[in-house]
């Protein structure tokens, strides 16, 4: 199971597929590279736009029979020698996981860490019901955020939608909207509100809906250093059976490095699967 369809994830997919493995790719919307106007340092393709490069990577994977599935992974849990992956509120099972999440690690908001699980949540469908009849602020920084706010509203949460962008068209007209950024989440033991500029919004819950989730929030116990996933030269993370590649493992944040690491992660994950299979046979 590969999380992320940027250059690293797609390269990992190609290399696991070449080794005869079954691959699924789960990913949020447009990868980073699409924004690059011109990429001049990818070998063999001088003067190519990020968009073209990304499109040809995607074509390659599709030609091999795999299409990335669009959505958000909110948590991954090891269980025995398998992994359960929460993808769009559906539980998928995997034998190995490759994290190719990119580097857009969110900068935490003051109060966020302290109040996580005490009113701060990253997932409306996970924790929404706890706030029925209560007030909650939804901080929309991701594409699906308005939909999640509508969900909260529909189950009876009193939602205020805060975003630095324009009011999303799909946001329910019953939900008040405030343009701005959350400067601080307030509360000592549990959330009491959020500060937006010099306004205080009273709330018992604050939902931070970003496109990216810190890797160690995604997966409890994953070793990190300065915001990046720690890996060895085989792209193994601190959790057996979990590999990482690309921008999420550290600098340089470049396509060639992402593709190269994706190759290693894909091959190592394939090798890991072969080893598990061998063990299973030995048990029989």
């Amino acid at each position: 199971m590969i999380i992320g369809a940027g250059p690293a994830g797609l390269s990992a997919a190609v290399n696991a597929l070449t080794r005869g493995k079954t691959v699924r790719i789960l990913s949020g919307g447009d990868p980073f590279l699409k924004k690059a106007e011109r990429v001049d340092n990818y070998l063999g393709l001088y003067h190519v736009s990020g968009e073209e490069l990304m499109a040809s990577f995607l074509e390659h994977v599709k030609a091999m029979g795999v299409e990335p599935e669009i959505g958000r992974v909110v948590n991954i849990l090891p269980f025995g020698d398998k992994f359960m992956v929460n993808f769009n509120s559906e539980i998928l099972q995997a034998k190995t996981v490759i994290l190719a999440l990119g580097a857009s690690s969110p900068k935490p908001i003051p109060g966020e860490g302290k109040l996580l699980g005490r009113g701060v949540s990253y997932c409306a469908t996970c924790d929404g019901m706890l706030y029925r009849g209560k007030e909650a602020v939804v901080y929309g920084q991701s594409d699906g955020a308005a939909g999640e706010a509508n969900f909260l509203h529909s189950i009876g949460v009193k939602v205020t939608y805060v975003t630095a962008r324009e009011r999303p068209a799909e946001l329910s007209p019953h939900i008040p909207y405030l343009r701005g950024t959350i400067a601080e989440i307030l509360g000592s033991k549990t959330v009491t509100g959020a500060r937006v500029g010099d306004r205080i919004l009273e709330a018992q819950g604050v939902f931070l809906l970003r496109n990216s989730i810190a890797p160690d929030t995604l997966m409890d116990g994953l070793e990190m250093k300065s915001g990046f996933v720690v890996v060895n030269s085989a792209m193994e993370t601190s959790i057996p059976g979990v590999f990482a590649c690309g921008d999420c493992t550290g600098k340089p944040l470049q396509v060639s490095k992402a593709v190269g690491e994706g190759l290693i992660a894909g091959q190592q994950a394939a090798k890991h699967l072969d080893e598990i299979q061998k063990e299973e046979k030995e048990y029989v």
Binding site: I91, G117, R118, M129
Partner: protein
């Protein structure tokens, strides 16, 4: 499903709280995906610590009063009680090892 995991009423919960040396409580709800993910983990713990730890699940929609009593702000939340007093709390979905450590620590001091 493990037969060892109990789904008590509030009254039965209070009785277990008094009577059981170690009681592990998993607060969950039917609509919560991470809760479903840890369900097999909780069942495995019930089997693994059979006779040492009593394992119960509390549906916070059915028993809102219990969720309120323990200030449950996020589910899953797993609490560990020793003869009625709270000795461990894990908020959010955790791998099996985290719950095992919490239980082992309690077992080692008893």
């Amino acid at each position: 499903m493990s037969d060892l995991v109990l789904h008590p009423s509030v009254e039965a919960f209070d009785r277990l709280l008094e009577s059981e040396p170690l009681l592990l409580v998993d607060f969950w709800a039917t609509w919560c995906t991470p809760c479903k993910m840890i369900a097999p983990v909780i069942e495995q713990l019930a089997d693994q610590y059979a006779g040492k730890v009593t394992v119960v699940k509390v549906d916070i929609d059915e028993h809102a009063s219990l969720a309120d009593r323990y200030g449950i702000q996020m589910i899953p939340t797993v609490l560990l009680f020793h003869k009625g007093s709270l000795v461990g709390r894990q908020v959010g979905m955790k791998p099996a090892g985290v719950y095992e450590t919490m239980i082992e620590e309690e077992l080692s001091v008893r």
